[in-house]
């Protein structure tokens, strides 16, 4: 028998847990314990997902482009905030509470206002996504910048390095790890943020599709789109992990001699 690595075993466990939930769900709905119109069975949802696929793809493109634009702008804003807050202590003291405050605003409450101010097009959606995604980025980067070893910083200073060089040689690479942790969170926030803002007004996108099928009481379609959104979020998170591996080659087999 070949030995399995711990990560393979843990994957085995998590996969079987998901399968078990789906199985129980299938048994409960399939046997008629729960009425099919209240909760469709996983198999039913799967079938719907296949028949609805072309329409879902059209809506996905809209949602994903909103999420992408919002996320990119959110990263840029988050990066900018982190850099200036790290560089100037007074800005850190002034802005940090404000940045935290933006995270206490309930997204669902502000989304309709954004629609009133900016209309039904892409703009209000992108703004909402920026507000939700920049925060994990800013906090991640700031933590990283501040975790730089002061001895390493003074060594570079002794070598004659300026602020800019210290930033690029130490602070930025030091912040890569927390940055990607933040980005993983932000990427899934971006999709959820896009869907929520589509609920409250728009012409297309997965959120608009959701409100339509809800009004039609098509619960199978509702679940199909929920499955799809989860799948997209997972895919994005893996994409971020892949990007992280590319950007941080020093994290590969660190113990190998």
């Amino acid at each position: 028998m070949t030995k399995k690595s711990p990560s393979t075993i843990s994957k085995l466990w998590s996969c079987s847990a998901v399968l078990a939930v789906l199985l129980i769900w299938q048994l409960m709905t399939g046997s008629g314990m729960i009425d099919a119109f209240l909760l469709p069975s996983p198999l039913q949802v799967g079938k719907t997902l296949i028949t609805e696929f072309p329409i879902l793809m059209e809506h996905s493109v809209i949602t994903l482009s909103e999420a992408f634009v919002g996320l990119v702008l959110g990263i840029l804003l988050g990066f900018f905030m982190a850099v200036i807050m790290d560089r100037f202590t007074f800005l850190y003291q002034a802005l940090y509470p404000l940045v935290v405050l933006t995270q206490t605003i309930p997204t669902v409450a502000i989304a309709p206002l954004l629609v009133l101010w900016f209309g039904y097009e892409m703009m209000p959606k992108v703004i909402l996504i920026i507000i939700t995604t920049f925060f994990p980025i800013t906090v991640g980067l700031l933590t990283g910048f501040r975790s730089a070893d002061p001895d390493a910083v003074s060594l570079l200073q002794a070598m004659g390095a300026g602020q800019k060089q210290i930033f690029f040689y130490i602070k930025l690479p030091e912040a890569m790890d927390p940055f990607f942790s933040g980005l993983r969170i932000s990427a899934s926030y971006a999709v959820v943020g896009a869907v929520i803002s589509e609920w409250l007004g728009g012409f297309g996108g997965l959120g608009v599709y959701m409100t339509r099928v809800k009004k039609a009481f098509s619960f199978d379609k509702m679940f199909a789109v929920i499955f799809l959104i989860s799948f997209i979020s997972l895919l994005l998170m893996h994409g971020v992990e892949f990007l992280q591996k590319l950007c941080m080659p020093w994290k590969q087999n660190p113990a190998g001699k």
């Binding site: 070893d149 200073q157 002794a158 070598m159 660190p254 113990a255 190998g256 001699k257």
Partner: protein
């Protein structure tokens, strides 16, 4: 001719004088040790020499040019190797050249010539985490050397290594120093290390710390493995110990 001159340096923190009236001269190719108890102000003195902090009084001269409070002139190396984990050894070593404005390609080329001399062949593309403690210190020393071929300040560079690695790196260090003739100011609290490596040993004692004695180690170079076992070595050690004991009534934490 003196490369580095430390001229009557006094420095205090929060009203407390840490080092007082320290004068030192370092000649070309010479290795001078500063030996003293931990917390005796050795690191403070190094920060002043490296230009990271300004002294209250006194000057630092490099080749007769005043460099007091000006970083970027002399390099230093600490007990921690401070190799950046996200750069390959090659790029870590090239860092001082990059900071001085050399192009990455040129810096790598320049650096590669030194790898075999420093016993680092084959580590160019590795990351620090993949190297042993002794190898990391060698890489850090090469980086220090590339920063300034004139003066290196080494602050307990080998004290975190285990005894066998330390002894091996001493042999290696003496060999490399024969070749590159780097003028070195070496801080340590290890008496054996000071005697083995130095041309002169300065004893830093008291509070505030000042230099109370200087001992010349006359042993010719290259120094062999049997030197630490010789009678002459023990006599130097005796001399140093009795001086330190006469100076410090408190417990001495020398190893």
């Amino acid at each position: 001719m003196s490369v580095l001159r430390v001229d009557r340096i006094t420095k205090s923190f929060d009203q407390e004088t840490v080092i007082e009236d320290i004068s030192l001269e370092l000649n070309k190719g010479e290795l001078v040790s500063l030996l003293g108890v931990s917390g005796g102000g050795k690191t403070t003195l190094f920060h002043v020499i490296a230009g990271l902090s300004r002294p209250d009084q006194g000057r630092i001269l490099l080749n007769n040019v005043d460099i007091t409070g000006r970083p970027g002139q002399v390099s230093y190396m600490l007990q921690k190797d401070l190799l950046l984990p996200y750069r390959t050894i090659e790029d870590n070593v090239a860092l001082p050249l990059l900071i001085q404005g050399m192009k990455k390609k040129d810096a790598r080329k320049r650096v590669s010539g030194y790898f075999s001399q420093f016993g680092l062949e084959g580590t160019q593309k590795k990351y620090p985490a993949q190297l042993s403690g002794g190898m990391k210190q060698r890489a850090a020393l090469l980086r220090t050397y590339l920063f300034s071929e004139q003066v290196a300040l080494l602050d307990e560079p080998f004290s975190a290594l285990d005894m066998l690695t330390k002894s091996a790196i001493h042999d290696w260090y003496l060999q490399v120093m024969e070749q590159i003739q780097l003028s070195t100011l070496f801080v340590t609290h290890d008496i054996d290390e000071a005697i083995l490596l130095s041309d002169r040993v300065c004893l830093l004692t008291g509070k505030p710390g000042h230099i109370t004695r200087e001992i010349r180690i006359e042993e010719p170079r290259p120094r062999g493995k049997d030197f630490p076992l010789s009678r002459r070595f023990l006599e130097y050690k005796q001399q140093i110990l009795s001086h330190l004991e006469s100076q410090c009534s408190e417990t001495i934490s020398v190893s």
